[in-house]
């Protein structure tokens, strides 16, 4: 599916502990800039999330702020943040409403 050609400001976050859910992620990244979207996929089979998520900022600045911070620590756990190199396929089914 074709994506809008305009640049998106996405960070890929990994090593997220299971205790943290989308709400905490969104709140945490809100300190770097406006978070447009936070996609933290859950495994429908186990009920746990998959340990990674995508954060979409509304601006390059927000993304840059997030990338500059190191380490990222939330609830005592450290996670990794990097620029999203592989733009995710925007879920085309009804699923996404549950995540953002």
């Amino acid at each position: 599916m074709a994506m809008p050609a305009k640049k998106v400001f996405e960070a890929f976050v990994s090593k997220i502990p299971w205790t943290i859910a989308g709400k905490e992620m969104r709140d945490y990244f809100g300190q770097f800039g406006t978070v447009k979207k936070c996609l933290l996929p859950f495994n429908k089979d186990t009920g746990f999330h998959k340990g990674f998520c995508w954060i979409t900022f509304t601006s390059e600045e927000g993304l840059r702020n997030a990338l500059q911070k190191d380490p990222h620590i939330l609830e005592g756990a450290k996670f990794q943040v990097q620029r999203n190199r592989h733009p995710f396929e925007r879920p085309s089914s009804n699923k996404d409403s549950e995540y953002d």
Binding site: M1, A2, M3, P4, A5, K6, P17, W18, T19, A21, G22, K23, E24, G30, T34, V35, K36, F42, K44, D45, T46, G47, F48, H49, T58, P71, G76, A77, K78, H86, R90, S92, S93, N94, D96, S97, E98, D100
Partner: protein
Amino acid sequence: MRMPFHSATEIMAALLRSARLLKFSPSGLLQTAVTRRNGAPLSRLYSGALGGRGTGVCPRQSSPSSGNVSSRVWPYAGACVRNYALATEKKDESGNAMRHSQALQFELALNKLDNSVRRTGRITKTHLLRIFYDTCRRGYPSGNQALLLLRSCGSLLPEVPLEERTELAHRVWEKLEKLGAQYDVSHYNALLKVYLQNEFKFSPTDFLATMEAANVQPNRVTYQRLIAAYCHNGDIEGASTILSFMKSKDLPITEAVFNSLVTGHARAGDVESAKNILTVMQGAGIEPGPDTYLSLLNAHAEKGDMDSLKQTMEAAESADCSLLDRDIMQVIHTLAKAGHQQHIPYMVECLRHERGFIPDAMNLCLSLITQSHDDIAFSILKKFPILQSESSDPDVFNLGNFFLRHCVTMDTSVEKMFMYCKELQESNLHTSPMDFTLFCALEANKIDMSLELMKLLKEQNSPIKPHYFWPILTQHLKVNNTAGVVEVMKAMQSLKVFPDTETLSNYVLPAFPDMDAAREALKDAGVSLESRMFVSFEARSLAAGNLAELYTMLSDTSCPTLDLSVFRSSLILGFIRSSDMENMVKITELLYNDERFSKKESKTSETVSYFLYNLINQMSEEEVQKQEDKLRTYFNELHAKNITISINIYRGMRNLLESYKVPQLIKHVLALVDLQEQASLSINGTGAENRQTNVNAEDTPFIVTLKKAMRTPDNKESLARTLELKLQHEKEMTPSCYAILISLCCRNNDAEEALNLKKEMSRMDPSAMLDSRKYIALVKTLTYNDRVDEAVDILTEMKEKEIVVDGGSVMSIFHLLNDSVPKGVATVRRLQETIFSLGLTAPSSKLCSPLVSAYLHSDDLSGALDAVIDARKLCQFVPPMHNLLVRMVEKGETDLLKKAMDFLSQVRGEMTMLFDLFFAFLQTGRYREARKIVETPGLRAKPLRLLWFAEKCIETKAMEALEHMVDLTDKLFDCDRDEMYSYILRLCKETNDWQKAEAMWTKMQEENVIPRERTLRILAEILKSNGQKVPFEVAESWFQEADVTPQVKEETTPRRAEDASPYWARVVAQSKKGEPQEAYKLLKEAIEKDVSLDATVFDQLIRSMLAKGCFEDAMEVKDIAKSRLPAFQLSEIATNLLIVTQSKKGHAEDALEQLKSMLQEKKVPSKLAITRLVQAMGSRGDATGIQEVQSLIKNLDMNLTLSTMVFINNTAIAHIKNGDLESAVDGLEAVFTSQDIQNPNMSFVLRKVLEDNDDKAWDKLSIMAERLANQFACYKPASQLFLQLLDFDKIEDAKFMLARCNAVAQQEDVLISYLSQKAQIPGQAGKIKTLLSLIPDFTGKDVLYSYLMKSHVVDGDLSSAKALQEHMQKEGIVMDELSLKRLAQLYRKEGETVPFTEPPESFKFYADLLKEKTSKAQESAEA
């Protein structure tokens, strides 16, 4: 189970029965000559005795946790550097594929278990079961697969209770037997081992009887283990009977037997006799080893006798039997089991935290937890050393996850776990132990435990979040357990956790038929819900059904903030269904203007933008086309309301609409875009460059003659003739003529003439010069003739004329120096110094090594060592020192040796130094010393170094040294035991020593090594070629008819036993041999005689027939089977073969039916079967069929790595067959432009099109490829096109292609993988050359040449290979050692002497070296 104590006579009878069997084959037991100091190699890296009370029994010869299943260097690993795999392969012999897949399966299974064992010293039950089921599903387990599974059912499963382990072993045994696995003595021995490790009580006599009934003869290892079993129960009488029997059969009594006896006496209550065994051993000439002491320690531990225990430890220490951490852990375990916890702290203090401590200690803890000693396990856990370098963030290092997880698994009480967690956290060993424990409980689906843990967490003021409950809810939801869901909701409420929208909508409500039911049920259960939750649900249900009411609800100012995302999907659904334009527009406008429906930080306009995009995105193409009018009106209405969207969203929508083929809507969307925002795209084109090719200068006829002379074999006569020729053509002489003549003289070792010619040349043209190689040849000739001064002059001249010494010439310099070794130290030193001081080339360890050799040659060890040290100063590297060290050891030069050691450990590290020393001791027969070295704590195997020494031994037939190396490394960490034994077997094969080979097989059983197929094959070959019976099944041998020499066949086939064996066995045997017709005859006979046959027999025969392509016969047999066994079904493998056969015969419909019924029976189709079927459909133009197959297997959770390209390519072919080129091109283009498929490859399609000469299709495809290349910088299709043209010898077309799309020449990876493929097939050298001629400035030329060289070698084309070498020298490209080695091999094959020094190591060595190099290069490129 109870252990029956048999009378001595009963045991004797059983033994004698086996002795009778022994007479049939005297080979088995009697030849086993093991008379080493310590008896048999005993493994110490053992995790087994941790299993239980039987610690002393036989633990030592059981398996090393790392050595057995373990540590392999994968021959296949890294072989697939190139991912240029064609979608299908040409050679498709199904039988071949099956055999291959079987071997692959074993390797895979082994690899998986192995990795686990190497990393952790254990295997998890799930892991093992998965492999077991996989093996069963595939239907045809090989002998070593069975062995692998069996031996994994013992102490490698510390997390599984003992009884369960034995049950599992029995299950494996029975199931695999049913599936046709053939058991030999190694399997019985492995089962015994598992019994011992699991403390399973069984009757040794019955065991022997079972073996007898199965016609399997026990061997030394069997008896040893039976003795251990008796001793385990303190039955000395039983043990003695077997012992005297072993003696009467002259079987060596090894240390292991004595160790068992120590345990036996102790268990019988007679500790004095146990101690006394040590003296008996010494009397028998066997020194008590560490394992003997361990048996005694365990005996004391069982009694809780700490004084004796301490004394024994001291005794062991003073007997130079140092106890490893592992040993101490065993003692701890014994103490724990015997209830002497109070002594454990003392033993824990004795642990030294050696390398490998952690995995061992973890297994000890796991084992203890399994046996409900979690408190002891915890006390050990607390003593774990904290690893600083464990992870990149030391502050986040958490200790004890494994402990907590296993506590959860074993249902340890929540209070205890809480206590452990608290202590871990308070001592800063773990940051969040409770969270982790909860995670484990949730993961293990332990609902009550999870809820209890959450309660405790809550009490600790840790937040409990709604999503903590999701795993539990998910489980309830799966089985529609409404009551369970309500219970969880109640629990949430009592924990004061309020379910959020996500929890309700995803995990709670789906369990109920509708919302009201949910509301009702929860209300009844006393669960109160926030009203806002229900607002969103209401919004959702209205959105999907009634837009007017939704608008009323939303526009009501009392409606709370409600994020659109909560009901967006439903709203989209509603919009698609509804035709209520008025409310659609109103709602959209509301969303656009009212902030309540957008997230805090996003603008309402954005919310609407995304909504519109999603609306279109989620409509299907058909829906959009149908609702075109509606959408147009909708957009226009929005425009009228001044609703705008961003350019970004517009683009996305435009693309969608284009792809839905409704471009007419685009302008209506564009109208929504703010005018200022409009921008335009620009397309950049790329220009192509032209290239020039070099034109070679023409040679004069005289030079041609000279060059010819160069090619004639060297002899004085021809040299004289050539020199005469020179006199005749004096006037035509040019410097290059001189050059040729000089090198001719050098080759004939005529220094005088060479020098004369050189002078003449300089007279004629003072600036004339030779190339570097010819210069060096001249220097070499001069040196050889003791004219060192003149040699030095020439070197100086090289410097003056600024001759460039390239890599290849460096090799020549090395040979110059190395060949000068016999001339003495002074000569070599002078040459070396001249070369280095002139700076002709940089010093390297290689170039320095001849000087070392020269010192060795003159027996000056001290000088040699100094030369080594100097070399290190010169070039930072150390020349090979093995020979030097060997000489030092031989001559007993302790001081020098010490100096060398210090030097080595300083510059190359202690580990390398130790291996150097180890090999030096081995080579000189100092085995005691070698043992000391290899026992150094912390030493781990270095596979390349061990390989190097083994190869050396094999080459020089040094069996003694090799055997010792293998024996001594048995406890070496991470040492691949199978690999080690395969070295000995290789040498046995060279020397044709079948007795030794067979003894090795017994030793492998003793050590619990699982042999790889390859190892068994070597063994089988040795036995066969000596007319011996092969006592095990080699799964693949029956495919290798070509390898078996006829006379061997004669000896092995007429086995009396075979005729006597039952029909089923003979049918199976013939089927496996690939003789289905023979088997069929037997089957018919059996049926006439009304012998009942098992389903597997029929299946085996059907498979064999299908593998040979006998389709009709196979169907006949299937019908017979059905008539006799109504429930008969083809096995998975047979069904796969059937699908392959049907597909190849063009019966795609039948094959499809097979596939469907197979899937219904939950069998998994093979990759080959699917591929063939899809190909059959493709060539018939059946695109829908392919689609069907793809959707059939889509949902299959199978790890077959079937490339999606198979479907895409064959669909394309189907379209082409139907003349629908558009669809074909569309399909392929989509693949290359999307990112979904890694490495898309359409070579298969291209080949088919070329084969069919379908010019029209070809043109279409090439237009597509060029378009993709030029517009999207996607060069793969063009490269594939180019290579196919090359492959079909359409050189002109290929050239044309290259001219139009120059970037193809830069697709190095694609080209190189093409080369690597071609180089393996004979007769393809031309293709490689053509490629070079088309792309003369190929970037990876050295790689190309090495493939070309390989290709020549494969073709056996020496003259081309020679020419290539010369050409490479001219171009100044260094040939890698692997290629050189290949070339040397070719020379020898053609009966010519190798004119250069052949690289000394093995092929594998250099191949590994190259692999390492490339992977390093890749790594650094990626870094």
